[in-house]
Symmetry: C2
Subunit: 274 residues, 2 copies
């Protein structure tokens, strides 16, 4: 990140270790309280309401919740309430909304509708006094302080960490709680990372596919959005599996080589960390 050290985005990325450390210490009580509510309810289905970066965080929650809790998670488009005025049957359901600002009228309208239809409504937001918070039974503030960059970074990571902590406390998974509590230290190392090979590959790129699957598909979606927002290249996230299938079918469009595989295990494979 040698070229970015004067941007707001760069500075906010460097706040991630402190933001998440604060979240998991001073900010953990609302997470534990919301987890207790979910344990009491034992919902048969969860729904998420979010958009953009927050929706990628919600996708991460979807996979994590399905894997950790065995409960199906439906991502509900805000238009279901705001345009179609549909009333969902949400008996024994919970609604998780994610929104940095907590302001989007159609997110608020969907959450308000979900609560009226019987869902336990939990909001993850950076603005605990927002309309979204007012429409929810329960608010978890991520306490990431103001995010000035258009490209969300610290609020995205803080939202995902909040979701993971929520699932860990809900399932009372001591091992997962310990792993999550070690994340700020991992982030300290991660913000020092550099990927020079990736920059080289991208230098003249106009288009980019970011591949992921399962949990990593959420991160791929967010990475693609960052590339769009900051590098102005047409980056799209895609599921890994069909791309492999298409490559095997030798379709011309997909014949460009996969040029870079992002290291996922920071401690063993990341060249920037000793």
């Amino acid at each position: 990140m040698s070229t970015g050290n004067t941007t707001r985005m760069y500075r906010e990325i460097r706040e991630i270790p402190d933001v998440t450390r604060r979240l998991l210490s001073d900010g953990v009580e609302p997470i534990i309280a919301a987890a207790a509510q979910l344990r009491d309810l034992n919902p048969s289905v969860l729904m998420t309401v979010a958009r953009g970066s927050s929706d990628h965080a919600a996708t991460y929650f979807k996979y994590a919740c399905e894997i950790q809790m065995g409960i199906p998670v439906a991502s509900i488009g805000p238009s279901v309430a705001s345009i179609y005025k549909a009333k969902l049957n949400l008996k024994n359901a919970a609604c998780l909304s994610v929104s940095q600002s907590g302001q989007s009228p159609d997110i608020v309208e969907m959450v308000d509708s979900a609560r009226k239809q019987g869902a336990l409504s939990i909001a993850i937001t950076n603005q605990p006094n927002s309309p979204l918070s007012g429409a929810s039974d329960f608010t978890i503030p991520i306490n990431a302080r103001q995010e000035k960059s258009v490209a969300a970074t610290k609020t995205f990571v803080a939202s995902v960490v909040t979701e993971l902590a929520l699932l860990a406390h809900w399932s009372d998974d001591k091992e997962l709680i310990a792993a999550i509590n070690s994340l700020p230290d991992v982030f300290e190392k991660a913000v020092e990372c550099d990927w020079p090979q990736l920059s080289d590959v991208l230098l003249d790129a106009q288009m980019l596919f970011v591949l992921g699957r399962g949990l990593s598909s959420a991160v791929a979606g967010e990475a693609a959005l960052k590339f769009k927002e900051t590098c102005r290249i047409h980056a799209e996230s895609y599921s890994t599996e069909p791309v492999i299938i298409w490559r095997n079918k030798a379709l011309t469009f997909w014949q460009r080589q996969i040029k870079y595989e992002m290291p996922t295990n920071l401690t063993s494979r990341q060249p920037g960390i000793q």
Copy 2:
């Protein structure tokens, strides 16, 4: 479609009126029977399992089911079963899978897992003797005959029409049933459509965003895939709303004008139909 009349894709598109007419007459019994099963079960949640074009059809079902039945629909990634080996709690749930071939091992594995976990499993497929059918409680054959083109067309439309008919019979919505039964006649007109302005705009395009929201987001996703597969341009579907917001924020990346708005009401706005 003046230039495409020798391609398999073109010929298969022209079969759509007949395929759907056959589906809604000779092929309607399994749809009515599956609808009766769903009515008896009255599920609190539905899940969909699909990939590619079929997953776009499943997204259409998701919105249609939420709007028509008020039941949340969770799109479950096949990796939840095939990679993560998660067991979902699917008491009082139904699982709708969509697959032209019914062959994909991880789709079959997810459906098999869903049935074992208690879900009523309904498969929409063009291959009623496939492994997917074997893993399901109930199969609805779309009877679209062989699809030779790599780019799915008639099977996509037949899958969506099947889904709509399933919802219409499930809710015993006479008006919707009548509207669906009129679709083959609408398709007769639709296959004669031409959009010369659209071709003009796309002639030199390397990148394309296809915008949609709610029900039309499913169609936008499928249209983007068709552009990728057949025109080799990087087409991506996107929700209409954030694009409007971004345009208002005057981000450079989005400043390119929206150049063409696809007519949606064929009878009143489509220049190709009198």
